[in-house]
């Protein structure tokens, strides 16, 4: 057996914080052979990114300490290298792609220049040669018309294109090792698929080794040779990818595999990691009824009452231009959309970023003013209601936003955040009674009442999203819009939140509009699915049938983009 390209041995990384020493990586060992791809999987905070930063020599000193372990790169211990040596390696032999393409490019330089820069530093090319090479690389990563695109600035490109530029930069010096830290998490599923295929192709072409970090085991199914699963700073399982996907050993791995909703057949509630293991990490037996496939069609339609009807809705924004900045044209974000939702049901809206689904959601709530069309809620036209009536409407219609980090006011405690809606509408009796209501609800969404006097920054993303859900439900609404409410969450957390939403729907008889770019999520939670493209709903069908017989080409593209790295075996065999 040949020596691997990268070998991490018994690595421990600790952080000195105000509250003492936190061990972020505990005794982690793995190898990356030449020309192979290793997937490192785990949820946020599991230590996977810290491991990659340690390999790059980018740990924040002096806060981070490495008391033990070695990282051998071609026999050279990277932990013992000085900064000069590391700088020589970084970008040249080892390079990295980051999660957020929006912020990893310098906005004031042309993308061509940014790619050429690395070539000039490491390969000593002249400016002209570097530029030509940059154009060639852009061609290779599939950017259309590279000679022209190289002159563009980052803001002139889409998210997917920016990520391609990042990849071009990373491979420009033909590194031996490419570290990809969640490179597709910020992208739409369709773009994600393209980027994954591109990475795989380049890895083969350049015979690179790749370290692919992700929270979503499904993503790497097609491209990883080996998989390392990390949980709470430890490696809990490592094996070749095929083995992991068919016969996972560790309960955490099984949980990760099961928690991503599948197209079509799903149990009534998604399986979560906690179904497979206890808090202490002991394996649990999953009850058989938990994995039974549930068919929404079998539930009889008790209710025929149409709660919301939208007809020919148009929402447009002015496009400013000309010398005096006047309105030159209108951009129709929502263009002639009509649909109905029955009480207690869920309508899923799916589409890529920019298709108008978020604007549609906000127009229904009148957070954005629609330009034409009608919104009829519970038999009443609410398209133009004003002031007091609109305020009363807010009690019945609520929204849960995408980003749990920016949707909570950082200067208010959780209790204040939850009680505020009651204060606005002067409901819920005395102060103490309002507090009790908030307490009851916070427990309902799975948090503890004694956490209510804390501030949002002390909670994780999943917990914050639960707080947002609780806030939306404080006024006992009938209708809730979930705008990409699980997109920012790890898959394992996503499953828990989806289950929570379903539980709450059952208990309070809620009607949802569920907006997402991920068809598998929508397919799981919704009764009916509308596919949006360029401001229009191009296809609408029952959730259970849309994935089987999609009529539109676009819907089929969306379907095929969903990561296929699911278990090849039926769910029941996991148990």
């Amino acid at each position: 057996m040949t020596t691997p390209l990268l070998s991490v041995r018994d690595l421990i990384v600790e952080f000195q914080t105000g509250e003492g020493i936190v061990r972020a990586v505990n005794n982690v060992s793995f190898d990356i052979p030449h020309g192979k791809t290793i997937g490192i999987v785990g949820e946020s905070g599991s230590g996977k990114s810290v491991t990659s930063l340690a390999v790059m020599g980018l740990l924040q000193k002096p806060a981070a300490v490495v008391p033990q372990g070695e990282i051998l790169f071609n026999g050279l211990d990277l932990l013992k290298c000085n900064e000069t040596k590391m700088r020589e390696l970084r970008g040249n032999q080892v390079s990295m792609i980051f999660q957020e393409p929006m912020t990893s490019l310098n906005p004031v330089f042309k993308v061509g220049e940014q790619i050429a820069e690395a070539l000039r530093i490491h390969k000593n090319l002249s400016s002209k040669e570097a530029w030509e090479k940059a154009v060639h690389l852009m061609n290779q990563v599939g950017i259309p018309n590279p000679a022209v695109s190289a002159h563009k600035f980052p803001h002139e490109m889409s998210g997917g294109q920016k990520q391609r530029v990042m990849i071009a930069m990373a491979i420009s010096c033909e590194p031996k090792l490419l570290i990809a830290d969640e490179p597709t998490t910020a992208l739409d599923v369709t773009i994600q698929k393209q980027v994954l295929e591109l990475l795989h192709k380049l890895q083969q072409e350049y015979r690179m080794s790749m370290m692919f970090i992700t929270h979503d085991l499904g993503v790497i199914g097609d491209i990883a040779d080996d998989v390392v699963v990390m949980y709470r700073s430890n490696v809990v399982e490592k094996n070749n990818a095929k083995h992991i996907f068919t016969t996972a050993n560790h309960p955490y791995t099984k949980g990760l595999l099961a928690c991503r909703p599948k197209l079509g057949a799903n149990p009534r509630r998604l399986l979560t990691v906690s179904d497979f293991m206890t808090e202490e990490g002991k394996e649990k037996v999953v009850p058989v009824e938990r994995v039974q496939i549930f068919d929404k069609e079998t539930v009889p339609d008790k209710n025929d009452h149409v709660l919301l009807e939208v007809s020919n809705l148009v929402t447009q924004f002015p496009i400013k231009g000309g010398f005096f900045g006047g309105t030159v044209d209108h951009f129709k974000a929502v263009n002639d959309v009509s649909f109905k939702i029955k009480k207690g049901k869920t309508l899923g809206l799916v589409g890529e970023s920019g298709c108008g689904k978020t604007t549609l959601g906000r127009s229904i709530l009148r957070l954005v003013e629609p330009s034409a069309g009608k919104i009829i809620y519970d038999g009443k036209d609410i398209t133009h209601v004003k002031h007091e009536e609109l305020r009363l409407l807010r009690k019945k219609m609520q929204i849960i936003f995408q980003d749990p980090y920016s949707s909570l006011n950082p200067r208010m405690t959780i209790a204040d955040i939850l009680i505020e809606p009651l204060n606005i509408h002067n409901e819920g009796g005395t102060k103490a009674q309002r507090y009790d209501m908030a307490k009851a609800l916070i427990e309902k969404v799975g948090l503890k009442a004694n956490q209510m006097n804390r501030y949002p920054h002390e909670f994780s993303g999943g917990q914050r999203q639960r707080i947002c859900i609780a806030r939306a439900l404080m006024l006992r609404p009938e209708f809730v819009i979930c705008d990409e409410s699980v997109s920012a969450l790890d898959v394992s957390i996503q499953a828990q939140v989806l289950n929570l939403l379903l539980d709450l729907q059952e208990e309070f008889g809620l009607t949802y509009v569920f907006i997402s770019h991920d068809l598998s999520v929508v397919n799981f939670i919704a009764d009916e699915v509308g596919v949006m493209y360029a401001g229009k709903i191009i296809e609408m069908d029952k959730a259970s049938s849309i994935y089987k017989n999609a009529k539109e080409e676009y819907t089929r593209t969306l379907l095929s983009a969903i990561p296929k790295g699911e278990t090849k075996q039926p769910l029941a065999s996991l148990v």
């Binding site: 906000r362 305020r391 807010r394 929204i399 920016s406 949707s407 909570l408 200067r411 006024l475």
Partner: protein, 283 residues
């Protein structure tokens, strides 16, 4: 695990910075002196003759005496009172104007924004010192005119900062969420956005304070500031003629007093920004 608000976190960060704490102590000492002096508890009899004319500093007269035989030390204390009162008065005038106009402009946009932007660009297009001079000339010389003049010019920076920050925050989802639960403009602006930009008021006030002190010194030096009272500016003006005769202590007294408060405010402003501005957190 204990729970902290962002304010408390910021204070803990500030308390770790020893230099900043020391600066804070200096600032507080100056305030203390200014308050005692304004209550007439110290330096009330600064105009009394305490010795011969132009005595050099000694144990008896720390900073020596001036041409009329008055204690320079007491004049410096009196000057401290004037300087600090100008800083406080300018802030009291500038903060409400700057915050209110900035918040309204940033939040509502449209013609309100146009108007406020026009107002502060007009103010800032005139060189500050010219504006100060013209205001004091209109209102007549004296400390009151200095208050008004400084208050009227120092709201501009704050207003501009608040406006930009409010514009940024009003698009945040927590503000939209406040709208979605039925909160009106007033609640969104004053209950949600303002607490999240209020750190800017503190940082900016700390920076404006020292600018106000400096401006008062300049105005008084030019003879447009306080009348019939000692101020650091008038002391430096006096020293102009005395220096040729080797009488340096009047200049030294005023300069040293000014030096420490300005340095302290500078260090404190930097530390406040590091402690309060979440963008720089962890750096």
């Amino acid at each position: 695990m204990k729970t902290n608000s962002l304010w408390k976190d910021a204070f803990i960060r500030l308390a770790k910075d020893k230099l900043a704490l020391f600066s804070l102590v200096i600032v507080l000492v100056y305030f203390f002196i200014a308050i005692l002096s304004s209550l007439g508890l110290i330096a009330a009899d600064w105009s009394q003759e305490v010795g011969a004319s132009n005595l050099a500093p000694s144990m008896e007269h720390f900073f020596g005496t001036d041409i009329f035989g008055r204690s320079v030390f007491l004049k410096v204390i009196r000057g401290t009172q004037v300087a600090m009162s100008v800083g406080v008065a300018a802030s009291i005038i500038a903060i409400p104007i700057g915050v209110l106009l900035g918040a309204l402009a940033g939040y509502f946009g449209g013609w309100i924004d146009d108007f406020v932007t026009w107002l502060y660009t007009t103010f800032s297009s005139v060189p500050n010192i010219m504006l100060l001079i013209s205001i004091t000339l209109i209102l007549g010389k004296g400390i009151f005119a200095v208050y008004i003049a400084l208050g009227a010019t120092s709201w501009v920076t704050l207003c501009r900062l608040i406006r930009g920050e409010v514009m940024k925050h009003k698009e945040r989802e927590y503000v939209q969420a406040a709208g979605a639960i039925g909160g009106g403009h007033f609640r969104k602006l004053f209950r949600h956005i303002l607490p999240n930009v209020s750190h800017i008021i503190i940082i900016n006030t700390s920076m404006q304070f020292q600018i106000a002190i400096k401006s008062e010194v300049i105005l008084s030096y030019l003879g447009l500031g306080v009348q019939g009272e000692p101020s650091w500016g008038t002391m430096i003006d006096d020293a102009k003629l005395e220096l040729v005769r080797g009488v340096w202590w009047q200049l030294a007294g005023a300069t040293v007093a000014m030096f420490f408060i300005l340095l302290a405010f500078n260090i404190l402003s930097d530390a406040l920004r590091d402690a309060l501005d979440p963008k720089l957190k962890g750096k």
